[in-house]
């Protein structure tokens, strides 16, 4: 483990520069560049707000008087889900996409998922900024609990990176994983209370949904940004420990597979 960390430290400039390059590359050939990354989820949220707004706005607890509540609810969930899926989908193909580089040059492979993580943080921070800007325009002021969002970002990242690194490593050898994961994520989106409230589904299914770690993370985002109430700390703590276990498993798997990755690329 220690040589791995040392290698990462030695390549810190490369990691930072790659994140910068990743970000700048978006602006080189398109006018709005990286803004598209923000426009995408915002439009998605706006669509849901338009279609489902009438139906669901009255459903939010203690918010019946707040016309904006549903929009805020949607954006909170989007912020969490977007970070989660971006890290997973990019980790999934990170070794395959950089196959040529890995075959020709020697550098710590672990840099690649770190670059993905770094650039996901930047994108998510921008999205968060944009969401706050939308709030400002709409005249919505979130409560003090909004300051928990950075901590929630870290928990989400840990979970996503753990899952992403395992899947990304396996995907090099079993390419079906790359096809299955987007489908699972698509289903996951609808099994997580992002566009709807959990109370509209039957109780038995609700119990099942609570096994989904993203259920708790999305709820925590909603608590922080919309309801301004305490976060589900117990669940979050449990998720955090699970993430650590997943990361440990991911690192073991990655280190065992590391020298065979290049062989099969």
């Amino acid at each position: 483990m220690k040589p791995l960390l040392l290698a990462v430290w030695r390549y810190r400039y490369f990691i930072l520069s790659s994140i910068k390059v990743d970000f700048k590359a978006r602006f080189v050939r398109s006018r709005l560049g990286g803004l598209w990354l923000i426009i995408h989820p915002l439009v998605q949220a706006a669509t849901f707000a338009l279609v489902l707004g009438q139906l669901l706005s009255g459903r939010l607890p203690n918010m019946s008087d707040n016309k904006l509540a549903y929009a805020v609810y949607l954006l909170a969930g989007t912020l969490a889900w977007n970070l989660f899926t971006e890290v997973i989908t990019r980790c999934l193909t990170v070794f395959i996409d950089n196959g040529n580089l890995l075959k020709k040059l020697v550098f710590p492979k672990i840099c690649l998922p770190l670059i993905v993580t770094g650039s996901a943080i930047v994108n998510n921070a921008l999205l968060f900024g944009a969401i706050l800007a939308v709030f400002a325009v709409l005249g919505y002021v979130p409560g003090l609990n909004v300051f928990w969002v950075p901590l929630l970002t870290i928990i989400t990242l840990g979970l996503a990176l753990g899952i992403g690194l395992i899947l990304g490593t396996l995907n090099v050898f079993i390419r079906d994983i790359g096809q299955v994961v987007p489908i699972v994520l698509q289903l996951g989106f609808w099994f997580t209370p992002i566009v709807y409230t959990p109370d509209i589904v039957p109780g038995s299914i609700q119990k099942l949904m609570q096994l989904n770690p993203m259920y708790w993370i999305v709820r925590a985002y909603q608590n922080a940004i919309l309801y301004d109430t305490a976060l589900p700390w117990l669940s979050l703590g449990f998720i955090f420990l699970t993430s650590l276990a997943l990361l440990g498993l991911a690192m073991t798997l990655f280190r065992r597979a590391s020298h065979e990755i290049v062989d099969v690329l």
């Binding site: 810190r12 790659s18 590359a25 080189v28 040059l105 020697v106 050898f173 079993i174």
Partner: protein, 408 residues
């Protein structure tokens, strides 16, 4: 003697195939799962490289050269055996690797140097030198997609060689760019070598290897089959690429310690080679510019439809001074019956610089020895050129000058 910069011992590499990929994953965790198929591309490779050594790696496509380089650079790991590297490795494998076409040369240079593990401060310090070496002027701050491929390689080479590595690996890539930049690249590599960098060069280019290397390794089917001075290795390599059915490769140690390689299918053979002076007396010592004749006697052992004789004069490093064949001079001999003897007399002035030279002969059916190689004989004859009556000069050619000096 210093410790070797690179030491490779008993290295083998096998690519494993498993019945299913799940079996492979189980194998990482030591759960018994036997690969169903192992393709061994390298076996029992052992060699040491000392500081300042320059070694050429030669071999046919698929002989395992690239795999060996990958193991040495560390992108892949050997299946068995040990590779120990005592310094930083720089690898010129594919110039301009990973350049982003939308960024400028400078940004890409920063990024690439970062990929080599250097810090921002290091790169800041060396950047003016990279810019100066690439010599692409204003283009350095233009997006790379506006570059010609040569310019991209210039930047690539400048970045890779910005910091002197302890071991420099060069894979075929040297024949890039224009003649000027090639010279410049070669100079930089020689400069590194002088400062103690070891070189590993993979190339099919005989002159590149022979001018840079003092040792060569011939790989065939994943094994080292020859390890010695570049001239002998290249002669052997030449012989095996012409190797076909019924062909033999014969290696003979000559009395002066040199190695004579003869190969071919044997339909026709060179019986004797002699160098004659203008009085038709055999000689071994030749004056610069002296008119001489090369007499080659050939015997046909099996009926053949066409016969072409080729010959080459090589210097002591094996660099070709001159070579041609009777296909190019339109003197092809046709329909030769078994038992026929042929005598070729080749007249030329020995316009060579002082030194030892050798003559190689080839008996073939067309312009190349790769179609029908009846016989290829290296070091068929050795002679020495001495400067008896010309003024002092250097080099391997005698290019008679007349110099005018005028005072104005």
């Amino acid at each position: 003697m210093n410790a070797p910069i690179l030491s490779v011992s008993n290295v083998g590499k096998a690519y494993r195939q498993y019945g299913s990929e799940f079996a492979r994953i189980l194998a990482w965790f030591n759960v018994a799962a036997k690969p169903i198929h192992e393709r061994r591309v390298l076996r029992d490779i052992s060699s040491d490289v000392n500081p300042g050594d320059a070694i050429g790696i030669v071999g046919q496509n698929g002989a395992g050269k690239s795999t060996l380089l990958k193991l040495i650079t560390g992108t892949q790991r050997p299946t068995i055996g040990q590779i120990h590297v005592g310094g930083r490795i720089g690898a010129i494998l594919e110039l301009g690797m990973g350049f982003n076409p939308d960024f400028t040369g400078r940004q890409n240079a920063y990024h690439s140097a970062g990929l080599m593990g250097f810090s921002q401060a290091d790169i800041d310090g060396i950047m003016p030198e990279i810019e100066a070496f690439a010599e692409i002027d204003d283009y350095f701050d233009q997006p790379v997609h506006t570059y010609s491929s040569g310019m991209q390689m210039r930047v690539g080479f400048a970045v890779i060689t910005a910091f002197r590595p302890e071991l420099l690996i060069v894979d075929e890539a040297l024949a890039v760019g224009d003649a000027y930049f090639q010279h410049k690249s070669f100079n930089r590599i020689r400069e590194f070598q002088k400062q103690g960098t070891s070189l590993l060069i993979v190339s099919h280019d005989r002159s590149a290897v022979q001018s840079l290397c003092d040792r060569a390794i011939l790989l065939e089917h994943g094994k080292i089959i020859h390890d010695g001075n570049p001239e002998a290795v290249f002669d052997y390599y030449n012989a095996i690429i012409a190797e076909k059915e019924n062909e033999t490769v014969e290696v003979k140690q000559l009395s002066d310690g040199k190695v004579q390689t003869t190969s071919g299918t044997g339909e026709a053979r060179v019986e004797s080679v002699a160098l004659l002076n203008s009085d038709n007396e055999p000689i071994e010592l030749v004056n610069v510019g002296q008119p001489i004749s090369l007499e080659i006697n050939i015997k046909v052992y099996q009926d053949i439809s066409t016969l072409v004789l080729g010959y080459m004069i090589k210097d002591r490093l094996g660099q070709i001074m001159y070579g041609t064949n009777t296909w190019h001079t339109k003197q092809i001999v046709s329909d030769l019956k078994q038992g026929t003897g042929l005598k070729y007399l080749i007249h030329f002035p020995a316009n060579l610089g002082p030194g030892t030279y050798s003559i190689s002969t080839a008996l073939v059916s067309t312009e190349t020895h790769l179609v029908n190689n009846y016989e290829w004989r290296d070091l068929a004859c050795v002679f020495e050129v001495v400067n008896l009556d010309k003024g002092t000069f250097v080099g391997t050619s005698w290019i008679h000058p007349s110099i005018n000096v005028e005072k104005e």
